[in-house]
């Protein structure tokens, strides 16, 4: 058991079983399908209300994603701590400006390059999730487990654009 906690990575099947149990507990106890992207919309709406109230005064923030410290926002705080404790215990935790070896090999050491792409990519992801009605967790897995067509249409779209994006970024090394 201790050895398992100290492993940096689990088999994706074992980690997947844990995530599946998390979904079951969440749906059974809280009645909510856990999702990650909604939190940014709720919290972003809160910031918009404080900084530029006119921006939050629309149908989306009034009815679809009301601003506030929602269930999803608190969930995300938990996600942060869970990942932090998991990586700390296994010694996988480290702070780095350009964290990934594969990234450094392909795109170099430049910090601004990584951060700009990370920021722009994050905006694109959240924008897409907002239109689709969820992300990989809330929509793809959370909808897929009910065989909701939305989940599979979303995943098809995700790969239909993700593969060409990876081809463009890696080109000859694809």
């Amino acid at each position: 058991m201790i050895a398992l906690l100290k492993q940096k990575e689990w088999s994706p099947y074992l980690a997947g079983v844990l995530l599946g149990i998390v979904y079951i507990v969440s749906i059974a106890v809280a009645g909510v399908i856990p999702g990650a992207s909604g939190a940014f919309e709720n919290f972003g709406g809160l910031i918009a209300q404080a900084v530029a109230p006119a921006l939050a005064n629309n149908t989306y923030f009034k009815f679809v994603m009301p601003p506030g410290i929602s269930w999803e926002v608190i969930l995300l705080v938990g996600v942060f701590f869970g990942a932090f404790v998991s990586s700390k215990i296994s010694g996988d935790f480290k702070l780095a400006a350009v964290p990934d070896e594969q990234w450094r090999k392909m795109f170099g050491q430049s910090v601004w390059k990584r951060w700009v792409i990370a920021f722009v990519g994050g905006v694109i992801i959240e924008f897409g999730a907002g239109i689709a009605g969820g992300c990989t967790s809330g929509l793809a897995v959370g909808g897929g487990l009910f065989l909701a067509p939305a989940a599979f249409i979303f995943m098809a779209g995700m790969f239909a654009s993700g593969i060409p994006t990876a081809i463009l970024m890696y080109w000859r090394k694809f």
């Binding site: 689990w10 059974a28 996600v79 990234w103 694109i124 239109i131 009605g133 939305a150 993700g162 990876a166």
Partner: protein, 93 residues
Amino acid sequence: MGDVLGPLVIGFFFGWALQKAGLGKYHKIVNVFRFTDLTVLKFMMTALAVAMVGVFALNTAGLVALPTVPATYVLGNLVGGLIFGVGMAGAGF
């Protein structure tokens, strides 16, 4: 307090599972689109299958009500997915 503790605990194990699957790492995410590492799919589909069996078993036993299933609106789901994939493969989140 239960309102805060519930999502906090659920989120904790959610984050734990993702970290242990290695999905905090750029290469794990981008490589699924290069077909060199299918961890993302193995992880997601295992979770999907386990949750599907568990939720419907509990529902059949009359213990759990089904939540609102994510809405299907073909154009939105598809266009959202297409935009999402660019960010996911580009930034590796």
